[in-house]
């Protein structure tokens, strides 16, 4: 079954990631064994978190995922990031089917191509802001001096040049989210995924973060999931989800234009 398609139809933009008829089902509990079946135990119920959704995201595009809680926004983000495999359909990143990659390859894929920003930041309290940002570069084999330079540059870009050595707990929520954005960008990913990036922030901090995302999208694709109207206004187009399915056509063009 073909699902709703939301595409940004601009020939000059290259598709970074696309989802085609992707579905994700979760099983609540475990399948009964032989004894369980003999005793009449039923198969556990399944929940369809994403239902035949399709979309394409191109470079320099910000796509918003909107919908009530439980509508499948986060799950769709995880599928696009390669954090989960779809039950049906395919997720393709620049022509590569993510389901064909092993777990290790998908981890490497995220490191090199995808930046992720969480609602709750998930920074390491034990490391300074700069060390948090630089940490993913350890895996890419970048030398210590270069790691520090790149992390410093990015933190300066997000306005935290005077907070390099501060620990996360010494920073405000908005500052922590900017550190998280810098961390997401440090490997220069082609796609940035953000799940409720302003959900933990006050209005003023949230606006500052949204400005960062506008800058982030200058040479890469961004997919945001949010309930927040102001955050969604930033997006070039929106996908509205309900019960895992895309229920609304994309709005072409947004406030950025």
């Amino acid at each position: 079954m073909a699902g709703s398609v939301a595409s940004f139809d601009e020939a000059s933009s290259s598709v970074v990631v696309s989802a085609t008829d992707v579905s994700k089902r979760y099983t609540r509990g475990t399948e009964p064994g032989v004894l369980g079946r003999l005793l009449g135990r039923q198969s556990p119920p399944t929940v369809r978190a994403v239902d035949s959704a399709s979309l394409e995201v191109r470079t320099e595009e910000i796509v918003g995922l909107a919908g009530p809680s439980g509508s499948g926004k986060s799950t769709l983000l995880h599928l696009l990031a390669g954090l989960e495999r779809p039950t049906d359909g395919t997720v393709t990143f620049r022509g590569t089917d993510l389901a064909s990659l092993s777990r290790r390859e998908r981890t490497r894929h995220r490191l090199e191509h995808i930046g992720i920003v969480f609602q709750q930041f998930h920074l390491l309290d034990s490391l300074s802001a700069r060390a948090n940002v630089a940490l993913p570069l350890v895996e890419t084999g970048v030398g210590k001096r270069e790691r520090r330079r790149r992390a410093t540059d990015l933190l300066e870009r997000v306005g935290l040049g005077d907070r390099l050595t501060h620990r996360p707990r010494e920073l405000s929520g908005g500052e922590q989210q900017r550190v998280a954005i810098a961390r997401a960008l440090v490997t220069d990913p082609a796609l940035v995924i953000a799940d409720e990036p302003t959900g933990e922030l006050d209005t003023e901090s949230g606006r500052a973060i949204l400005q960062e995302f506008e800058r982030v999208a200058e040479n890469r694709a961004v997919v945001l999931a949010s309930h927040d109207r102001e955050t969604l206004d930033l997006c070039d187009r929106l996908l509205r989800l309900r019960d895992g399915a895309v229920v609304d056509q994309p709005s072409r063009g947004g406030p950025r234009e």
Binding site: R110, I116, F118, H122, D125, S126, L135, V138, E139
Partner: protein, 418 residues
Amino acid sequence: MSDRYRRSMTRQGTRLRAAGRLTIAQFRDQKVRLSLAVVGVTLAVLAITLLAGAGVGVLETGEQQFQTADRDLWVTSGDTRLTTAGGGGFENTLYDSRNLSAEMESHDGVALAAPLAFETVYVSTDGSDDFRTFVGTGIPGGGSSIQVTDGDALEGDPYYANGTYGGEMTREVLLDAETARSLDVSVGDTVHIGGSLAAARENEFTVVGISPTFERMLGTPTVTMPLSELHQVTGNTRTEPATFLAITVEDDARIETVKRELTEEYPEYEIRSNQEQLEAVLQEQVVLLAAGGTLVAVAIGAGVALTFSLLSLVIYQQRPTFAALTVQGVSPPLLLMTVIGQGLCIGLLGGGLGIVLTPPAVVALNRLATAVVGFDGLIQTAPWIYALALAIAMGIGSVAAVVAGWRVSQTPPLEVLS
């Protein structure tokens, strides 16, 4: 060396350094958690060293007692059993000990053969009905190998004179410090001693000295007196029972040769060296040994379990951190290196602290044991105990960290973060 290999090695080195820095950073950030984990491992190490030390102490003390007794061979009749009757000591299964020792002393190469007896006796300070039981030890002669810490040694055993009990009783007795304290007597005081209450009321002895020798050997309070006087007050002059005949061989004689000849001449008796005698005594105490062995095994098992669960807990509590890193694309090897680093550090710190604290703990516990039960040198450590404890702390710490880290790395990160 290929470029690919070189790049791989460089990357591993970078990972290793990063893991080291991450480990240190995590520790610096979680001082309380680290301290508690280190304290836990320290306690596990102390449990291992002290309980294993108690096991070693029993064996070492026993061996030392046989060595310091300044005897070369021990003659017994049958098994050497600890008696369950009265205050403790050994069963006296070797009869006519005076004649037997005289016979053996006449054998070539034997310098001295002396019977040693242990009997349960009643002791009172004033001959009233307030009697208590102790182990009475009978020794022939003054007992030059008997250590006296206060007062004088026994004069000798003049009561037994040329095969008769016609000499004069010295009525001298040595007490160990704990017995003297419990009876509230000191050198110069008198006590009543006998194998029955009636005999005890009639026989008064003077405390001439304080000696820890037999209390250490038996691990129980003792009164030490001339053998013939012990036989007299316990009514055993007719059978003259003894637990051992202790033989000293002449300086120019070979112990093994004398032992072989005596064994051939007296096949009805067991003749053993110091080490063999200790082993024989211990072999009779299967239940005791099994209990001791179980205690040591439980100590090691508890130490292993405690270390394992502590390390698992420390790693488990960092799941959100590791999950966030995994989502960012940080690989399992870097996380595992960090986890192993934490296990090694906690194991090393806890193990090291446990080993440093073991000697003062041994001193304190030995003092306590001496004060409470009068047994000196209860806990004795050995290098292998320290090595075992440290190996368990570090080895199990690392293994626990690896297992916990592997399990954490297998948990889908979104399960932890969502």
